[in-house]
Subunit: 231 residues, 5 copies
């Protein structure tokens, strides 16, 4: 199951919503809770819940959120989502996200780092020379999901593209998508993403703002430092 | 059941209270809870609860609130109200509300957008060339109610008139009422509403102030942006 | 049962404490709770709980608070107090309070408005030409008590004297007392109240301060505006 | 049981800790709870819990706190402590405390006022010409304990020495101790207390700071005003 | 069981992480909870929970946290950790920590004070002329753990090196480690710790920042004052 949750650079929602449109995935469900803000979407005049599941005929499924998640409920959210994925027969979860780099402005093609819970996954990626996240902290929704994977010994993989921290980053989303496509063996044309960069940035300003607030209390600050163990 | 809850431009309370007076609806009940502020009203020296149900001999019923609802309880409020409406045999709920537009001052006749949960309702409206809400977020009490309709596959319809965000907007209320009258086939003279514009604005200043506060934590800010999916 | 709770102008505590002294009512009980601040009083070296019940040989009973009530517990407080009054055989509760008027300084004899829950009470008062509260919001502890009376169809009457909002107002208390005496048919000399005006104002400054704070979150602001229904 | 809890002028902890040392009382127990801050003391390298019980061979027992108590838990704390004292056979609780006076700086020998719950105690003191607290509010931990005594008709006595409000006041503690000694018939040399005045003031600055904060939300402000009943 | 929790100067995490590396301890478990921030670490691309248990073949076990603990949960955390240690057969817990001294900058070799719960432990240390903590308050996570030891009469020992309060202090960690090595009879070369001083300080800035915040509400301020008992 591919996962796109608002985080650094909004890489997740940008990449997963682009997938839904381009791979013509079908809406198959939603997730709701009384701790989520009272928000509903409309598209082509049809109502849509802000947290939704999509899939295609084959075995690609996707979970995606249009709104920032409340940081104080990340633990129970992650626990619920992973249990759900396992019950539905998912073999792994692949999160699309960003990793903030200060010099993002000078990077043409953002690199994508892979964080993987299971030894066999790390072996798979390193054999293919995919760059693994080596050292450091992860915070936020994806760290919470990876912790649940760790506790349940489930295959959890995060693709973290070099990204702006506080601006929606379609370029980073494009890099993450390209990596995902090469892992899952599907084709996707990421050019439109790069062309709409400025447009997307304006349109997602509120989601970015709420995401930044949400990140403040979910341990993201640790990400820019080094664990004591390796200091 | 027609619903008027304080929201953008106070369109709901202005329009529904006008209906009660002009259609001579009768008070049939109230809703109370320990999470509501301790407020009671008097009219012609008679006490009135701030959240009330009205109806006529025929099948028109109406729910209406004189006070802003506490945003942290919108979920349970919506769940309760919809369950109640269904149990009482309501076929649909029609919410009267506003949609903030920056250039409201230049608009003579505010347009009314329709957000509808059920496919058959949307078909009904588009066949009659009524303008449907196409793309975007909805937040606040009505989004919360529409989410409940979505989850229960119940007919939920919001009539959203172009409105001032932070000022009571009798003109928007008049437009919403006109639309409602044409849908439900009743006659109502909205001229008095337009004539009392300034008076109403002054009188509802406290309700407006509380409503603005309440909207701050109920996801209304998303309304001015575009979902990632369609960015 | 006559009730004096700190509210606008502290009319309730000033009037009821004056009654206790002048009518020589006897202490018959108290109300305590873990949500009240840890406060105890001493009078003639004897300890007194801050929320107390008094009565005389005949059927006059009185409840009275020396401290501001926590606004977040008004609902359960009102529910408890009314249930208690009913269980003890009270036929009605009469609250002594104030209604803030901006020009209080120019008013010699404050007028007293009556808010009454039951139709028969309103008839009784209007037949005697007592002025009923016609239109508007009531907020705070008395609104909370009147709501409970409304829900239980119990006779609840509030005597609201024109009063300063933020200053203890013995003059308003005198007016409320005079009205109460004429309703309940007892005699009371209110002159001392008027003579001690300045003294009382200084002595009750802390209670006034706490009461103002408590009123901030109990819907009192609505009192100066007009319900949408009658805008 | 003699009680010393941080309050006005830290009279309680100063006086009771001095008693423990001078009367060579023995440590017999402690009180702990998950609502207390995580604090432990060391004395002569031995660990000590911050809330402790002491006693001597005869029937003198003492409870004493080195830290400010959380104001939101005073009710349950008082209830627990009194129940415990009663179960252990205590005949009365005597609290050592302060009563803030503005002109403390000009007072050589602070006077000690006695607040007593039971009629027989008040009679005992007035027969000996000990000054009783006549009129006014008491707030804070001791008011909370006295309220529990009132509710359980148990002998509760507070010795309140004229004191600085915001500075540790060994002089006030000496006065309270002298009064206690004359009531309980023991001898104590209070000279050392007076000699270490400045030293004690510096050493207890953190406890004073926390106590001031704790007093802010426990009704102490009422202490400087007059109850409505006697205004 | 040796324990390293972020506190004054981060002595604990610096010292224990150094032990893990140098004594080649093995990861044997972790502790997680929904009250911890959503944080995961990576080392050599492998995921690591932020609170971990290590041990060697012999009977040395170690618990260590990479993140600041939420102060409002220290009580239940300490209770849990100690119960766990006891169940696993630990004979004692030895905490590595710091004690803030204002003149740290002038101290070449920080002294280490020992706080010990059990009489026999204190005897052991004083016979070997190890300096015991004589007088004063302890606050924070270690005070919370020592309180639990006190309540369960379990051997709890804190080694507190003179340390900077607000800067990571590898020199203090080195002193604490040297003391631990001499107690537990193992050899460790602390030179690398001293050489990386500046590097470590930069790398641990976020952990230091969070730890400072956490210390604010866990009674650490009392540490710089003297208990009333000994004032």
């Amino acid at each position: 199951m591919v996962i796109g949750i608002p985080d650094v650079g909004l890489v997740g929602p940008i990449a997963t919503s682009f997938m839904v449109k381009n791979l013509k995935l079908e809406l198959v469900g939603y997730l709701d809770s009384n701790v989520l803000p009272p928000i509903l979407l409309f598209h082509n005049s049809e109502p849509l819940m802000p947290l939704r599941f999509y899939s295609n005929d084959k075995n690609l499924s996707l979970f995606y959120s249009e709104i920032a998640l409340p940081p104080e409920h990340l633990y129970s959210f992650s626990e619920y989502l992973l249990d759900f994925a396992i019950k539905r027969g998912a073999e792994r979860i692949i999160m699309l996200g960003g990793i903030a780099v200060p010099n993002r402005i000078n990077i043409q093609k953002p690199k994508v780092y892979i964080a993987a819970i299971k030894e066999e996954d790390r072996k798979f990626f390193s054999e293919r020379n995919f760059p693994l996240l080596k050292e450091g902290f992860m915070g936020g929704a994806y760290a919470s999901l990876l912790k649940q994977c760790y506790k349940k010994d489930f295959s959890g993989i995060a693709l973290l593209a070099e990204s702006h921290l506080n601006y929606p980053d379609p370029g980073a989303a494009a890099s993450a998508l390209t990596m995902l496509a090469s892992i899952l063996n599907f084709k996707i044309d990421i050019k439109p993403l790069l062309e709409q960069e400025e447009e997307i940035r304006v349109k997602l300003r509120e989601l970015m703002k709420r995401t930044i607030e949400s990140m403040k209390t979910s341990g993201k600050e640790y990400e820019f430092t080094v664990p004591a163990m390796y200091a």
